[in-house]
């Protein structure tokens, strides 16, 4: 009996020694994915039923409260700007020369027909703030060892009740994410790839968002250039910058 207890204790101790704490992993992911500020140029490819659209833009963001995006192409979207301050979002359209505030439930609408909502783009709270994590498995994704974490919300206003996240065991970058509804229904899947070391942070520069409830190939989001912790002038995050 004593031997059995010793064996069980030893097994648990070994497991505890080899498996890192799930919240610790999540914290490392947060540290990689967040920065004081960032400037990036991106290309968004929205795959529709018949055609695909490419939208390029440059984004300035500071923490999770402020961000400013200017669309560079296609010609129809050129000059369109989006400003996010806290929970508010404004869009400037050069064709009408007007600033429109997107508020409340309009934030849940799709951004330019993509698989992303304005809220998805705006909700960049740290995962450790929203979820409690549980390490459930280890898997290999794209020839990389990953920790499989199941995240369950610990706040009331999380967009997704549950997430499953595959985290690179060396770089602490998510390589795949699945978002679930309260009922357990899988809603969205994201694949993150082309992980690069930028200013000491491992960062995925290509993300494919897929709304699994509808047909289609999803939306590809590629960051063509990214810089962290830059000096962004304060005026960028003002409504006046929208009309400049």
């Amino acid at each position: 009996m004593k031997l059995l207890i010793i064996l069980i204790t030893a097994t648990f101790s070994l497991f505890a020694f080899t498996s890192p704490d799930a919240m610790e992993i999540l914290d490392k992911v947060d540290r990689n994915m967040s920065s004081r500020n960032r400037i990036f140029e991106s290309e968004m490819i929205i795959h529709g039923r018949r055609t695909s659209r490419n939208i390029t833009s440059v984004t300035y963001s500071e923490g999770n409260k402020q961000s400013f995006t200017e669309y560079l192409s296609p010609a129809r979207e050129l000059g369109t700007k989006m400003l996010k301050l806290g929970n508010q979002l404004w869009i400037y359209s050069p064709s009408t020369d007007r600033i429109i505030q997107i508020s409340g439930h309009m934030l849940r609408q799709s951004v330019m027909g993509s698989d992303l909502s304005y809220e998805d783009m705006m909700d960049d709270r740290k995962l450790t703030e929203i979820y409690s994590a549980e390490l459930t498995d280890n898997e290999i994704i794209d020839n990389r060892n990953t920790y499989v974490l199941v995240l369950t919300t610990k706040v009331e206003d999380a967009t997704y009740f549950k997430q499953k996240i595959w985290v690179d065991t060396e770089r602490y970058v998510p390589l795949k994410q699945e978002m679930f509804a309260k009922s357990g229904q899988l809603l969205k899947r994201t694949s993150l790839s082309e992980v690069k070391l930028i200013q000491g942070k491992w960062f995925p520069t290509r993300i494919i968002y897929k709304d699994v409830l509808k047909d289609g190939e999803g939306t590809e989001f590629t960051m063509t250039s990214i810089k962290f912790d830059q000096n962004i002038p304060d005026y960028i995050f003002t409504k006046a910058a929208l009309k400049k």
């Binding site: 439930h105 229904q185 409830l213």
Partner: protein
């Protein structure tokens, strides 16, 4: 009657205008009555109590516009005098497509609206839903199909589940059908995390609740305002057409009168020579012209009554109601009110009398001696 065949041509044209005016206005009245009755039966009830922030045409108000049902309201709901409705935005995914829908939670026991809400009862291991024929066609759904819907609860957290299409109803009111998915209110309250709450209350005919706290009463004139405006705009369009039709008939009468006075100068001179005043002669000619309208009314009645009664019985099917976003039944049954018939008769008689009088005024300026000789004046 001296104009012979011309008289009968005038009478025929005027009677045609008379019958068409009654028919067209009867169709509009029939559409109006059916549309109002259908909207009351399927959507509005005898009136509604709204949460102060609720706007049925602004889905962005739905999320924050819901009130707790007070014991007084719950008691009236049980007596079937009120029926609570909870409203929320959602997305449906039929065959992998995404469609924006409005989820409406209704009481399966309600009897105020014609919705087949009883199909929402008997949920054993499944969530039942009812949808309208238009929505079912656009989403390619059949009774018994499963429909995946995704929504956000009161905190904004996504949830999704499959519902069973328990019934597909056919109604002429697009507002009750297009993009609407009806669930049991208890179910939707649980899904949204809004226990015992509703966005608005539909009132029945005998509702005794007048001004409950935190609810604003919307009467039928408010709820049917858009439909009333639509009918009014159709009436304006129709009246232009009717004026033109009437004008053609009146011009013919006017022309006949001018010719008649020109050809019957000796007769006019004789009347005056026999001692009639000019006003009396003008009166004779005006009455004669006006008689066209009496004859037209009689002729119109002769073929119009059986024709209009037949249309009233069979109705007219346009076959476009389901495809248009307006309340329009497949078959419209015209409604000929006494007011419509009398006002049309008066319109025809009055306008025909006026156009008969206008050329007759010339008689007052005639010299009796020249008129007797038949001299041109």
């Amino acid at each position: 009657m001296g104009a012979g065949l011309r008289t009968w041509l005038n009478v025929a044209v005027l009677s045609f205008a008379f019958v068409v005016i009654i028919f067209y206005n009867g169709m509009l009245d029939g559409w109006n009555r059916q549309g109002r009755n259908d909207t009351i039966a399927w959507v509005t009830g005898a009136g509604q109590f709204w949460h102060p922030g609720f706007d049925r045409f602004d889905p962005y108000t739905f999320q924050d516009s819901h009130n707790l049902l007070s014991p007084e309201i719950v008691s009236e709901v049980e007596k079937k005098n009120l029926s609570p409705v909870l409203v929320s935005q959602a997305t449906a995914f039929p065959q992998g497509r995404s469609l924006g829908v409005i989820l409406k939670g209704i009481d399966p026991e309600q009897t105020i609206l014609s919705l087949p809400s009883s199909a929402l009862k008997d949920e054993i291991n499944q969530d039942n839903a009812i949808v309208g024929k238009r929505f079912a066609e656009s989403a390619n759904l059949k009774k018994g199909d499963k429909l995946l819907i995704r929504w956000r609860d009161k905190n904004g957290t996504f949830d999704a589940r499959e519902v069973n299409i328990a019934e597909i109803f056919n109604c002429d009111v697009p507002e009750a059908d297009n993009g609407q998915v009806y669930l049991s209110i208890n179910n939707l309250q649980k899904m949204m995390g809004m226990q015992n709450e509703a966005s608005y209350l539909v009132a029945g005919e005998n509702n005794p609740v007048k001004n409950p706290d935190n609810w604003i009463f919307r009467d039928l004139s408010f709820l049917l305002a858009d439909f009333d405006k639509l009918i009014l705009s159709k009436r304006v369009g129709a009246s232009i057409m009717q004026v033109f039709l009437l004008l053609i008939a009146l011009i013919a009468i006017f022309d006949t009168q001018v010719l008649s006075i020109f050809r019957r100068q000796k007769e006019i001179g004789t009347y005056i020579a026999l001692g009639m005043t000019r006003i009396q002669v003008v009166g004779i000619f005006t009455v004669e012209g006006g008689t066209h309208s009496i004859l037209a009314t009689l002729l119109g009645a002769l073929y119009g009554i059986p024709l209009l009664l037949l249309i009233n019985k069979t109705g007219i099917s346009f076959g476009i109601g389901q495809n248009m976003n307006i309340t329009l039944a497949d078959t419209i049954y015209p409604y000929y009110s006494l007011k419509l018939i009398i006002s049309t008769i008066l319109l025809v008689i009055l306008s025909a009398t006026i156009v008969s009088y206008l050329p007759s005024r010339k008689i007052a300026k005639m010299k009796p001696t020249d008129a007797l000789k038949g001299k041109l004046q």
